[in-house]
């Protein structure tokens, strides 16, 4: 074995090791990215299902004729029998503050709070929301802030991953949906 052989095999070995390490890093990043995307996707689907389920019940079994009690950009309070139990629930959705969600590295995410009945039944939805914005429409399709006039509402939301990927980018998904709850559009 000559000196050149030793040098050559060392270089070759080092190249192989670097390639393996690179491959390892690449696979690791890809895995993290895909895992993050999957997490965002699952959270988004769960979030949208929950919102669509609950918001479709706005006004169900309500007898007041004005089931939306509060119509703000970051919160809504409405009446509706969301669990079809026979009794009308008071449901409140509102966004928490980013400072309240300290256990994720993402500085922008916040909890979405859901109260049914009273504050003791608050459900904290930690799904990586970084945007939760409500817009309300009256019967003419115009934007309104008067709860009594609301006939439809648009939800715009961004869900992000709790951890950044290699490039310090958070996986994210934007979802927007306008719902016209049937029970809001019937005369009482």
């Amino acid at each position: 074995m000559t000196f050149i052989d030793i040098i050559g095999s060392t270089l070759l070995g080092a190249t192989v090791i670097v390639a393996i390490m690179g491959l390892n890093l690449l696979l690791s990043d890809s895995s993290r990215q895909v895992g993050s995307d999957l997490n965002v996707q699952e959270n988004t689907v769960e979030f949208t299902k929950s919102i669509q389920w609950d918001f479709a019940k706005i006004g169900y079994r309500d007898t007041t004729g004005a089931p939306i009690l509060v119509a703000k950009q970051d919160s809504v309070v409405f009446l509706g029998d969301i669990d079809n139990s026979g009794s009308v629930d008071t449901v409140r959705y509102y966004k928490g503050l980013p400072e309240e969600l300290t256990w994720t590295p993402n500085p922008n995410d916040f909890l979405l709070m859901k109260e049914v009945g009273n504050a003791s039944q608050t459900m904290q939805m930690n799904i990586g929301l970084t945007k939760f914005q409500l817009t309300y429409f009256d019967s003419t399709g115009g934007v309104t802030a008067d709860p009594k006039l609301v006939r439809g509402l648009k939800i715009a939301a961004v869900v992000q991953s709790p951890y950044a990927t290699v490039d310090s980018v958070y996986s994210g998904a934007y979802w927007e949906n306008t719902i016209y709850p049937r029970n809001l559009n019937v005369s009482k």
Partner: protein, 396 residues
């Protein structure tokens, strides 16, 4: 050296296999997730379409109760059922839809239960203040018949505490010159009190000085709050079965149904012995402007100048009550029973004449009848089911 390289290679392959396996699983999970969400959304969309079909079916045929089974819509299958139910005192229809949509290995379901009333609401026209509402004096018009503003489901079944005045006039005074028993529901008490017809009448059963935000309505459409031409259009085009539009008595077809719109020349006066110039009927007796057996609906008698007079309206030879709303410019000698109400548009009603011999007849307010006759006219030209079916609740 060779064995070390082999170990390195095997280790690398193992790590790569592990990552690839993880990536594949994550990828599969994402696809599964998407597929499931797609399936659920499709099921919901199909459900919406199935309910739309069901509602349209119900709007077009209020008695439809046969299930719509296995509707094939956008790759899914929907079944809709209809069932009568009671909601308080109201009859309603429960419409249930169940949808199945298969996406790959996932089967998604969606369901809706709606409770609806069909057809949509009629209403008691705001113009109906009393069982007989007039914008002119009515002292000599109401005769000696019993006029009851209490709310009647039918001639013998009372809906308590839900009536109106017996008579209402825009005039400042009212004198019951013919001793007619008058009854009503008064809301001066809480709860409201029904007052049975008596003579002399309780002052609470009569409204005088009735006011109107934009003045009294001068046309039949205005009286109901419809755009001008609505009732005439319904009558001409028979948008409600049985409706008719005529300009002379001889063209009337009996029994009266839907909207009967009689438009006559200014100054027309139908009365016993002279109806459109006809003095004798085919049997040689004095001609009478009768309204035939089992008359129903909205009966309009109107001239452009709002001065047409129908005198001696009779239901002979069959004394069936008229069920519905009569909107006439002027009336005198109302010799029939009425379940519903009368509105007289002219401020120049008949005065100074006697109108007795009518004490066997009655006039009773009925919100149920008025809602029934107005509900069909409200949305006759709508294609959408949303104005023809009233949704009471919707759970999806």
């Amino acid at each position: 050296m060779g064995s070390q390289a082999m170990i390195l290679l095997v280790g690398t392959l193992a790590v790569v296999a592990l990552f690839v396996s993880g990536l594949t699983k994550a990828g599969n999970d994402m696809v599964d997730n998407s597929s499931l969400a797609y399936g659920e959304n499709m099921a919901k969309e199909i459900n919406t379409a199935a309910m739309d079909i069901a509602m349209r079916t119900l709007a077009d045929s209020t008695t439809w109760r046969a299930p719509l089974s296995n509707l094939q819509l956008s790759g899914g299958s929907a079944t809709v059922t209809f069932k009568d139910t009671l909601l308080g005192a109201d009859t309603a229809v429960v419409v249930r839809s169940i949808v199945t949509f298969i996406s790959g290995i996932d089967t998604s379901y969606a369901a809706t239960q709606a409770i609806v009333k069909s057809p949509a609401d009629g209403f008691v026209p705001p113009v109906v203040h009393g069982t007989m509402t007039s914008f002119g004096p009515i002292d000599d018009i109401i005769s000696d018949m019993t006029i009851d503003g209490r709310n009647w489901k039918d001639p013998t079944t009372l809906s308590p505490q839900a009536g109106i005045f017996a008579v209402s006039t825009s005039e400042a005074t009212y004198i019951n010159t013919q001793n007619a028993p008058l009854g009503a529901t008064t809301y001066t008490t809480n709860p409201a009190t029904d007052i049975a017809p008596t003579f002399p009448e309780d002052p609470l059963v009569v409204e005088t000085n009735a006011t109107w935000p934009n003045g009294p309505p001068s046309t039949p459409d205005a009286a109901l709050g419809y755009p001008e031409g609505t009732l005439k259009n319904i009558a001409i085009n028979k948008l409600i079965p049985g409706s008719q539009y005529v300009t002379k008595y001889a063209d009337l077809v009996f029994p009266l149904r839907g909207v009967t719109y009689i438009e006559v020349a200014n100054g027309t006066w139908w009365r016993k012995g002279n109806v459109d110039g006809v003095t004798l009927d085919p049997t040689g007796k004095p001609m009478e402007p009768r309204i035939g057996p089992k008359p129903e609906g909205i009966l309009v008698f109107h001239s452009p100048a709002t001065d047409a007079l129908w005198e001696t309206m009779q239901a002979k030879p069959v004394k069936d009550p008229f069920k519905g709303l009569i909107i006439a410019d002027k009336m005198f000698h109302v010799h029939l029973d009425i379940l519903g109400g009368i509105v007289m548009l002219s401020p120049n009603t008949v005065q100074g004449r006697t109108c007795n011999g009518n004490n066997g007849h009655w006039m009773k307010f009925s919100s149920e009848i008025l809602e029934k006759v107005t509900q069909a006219s409200t949305h006759t030209s709508d294609a959408s089911w949303k104005t023809r079916v009233k949704v009471l609740s919707w759970y999806e």
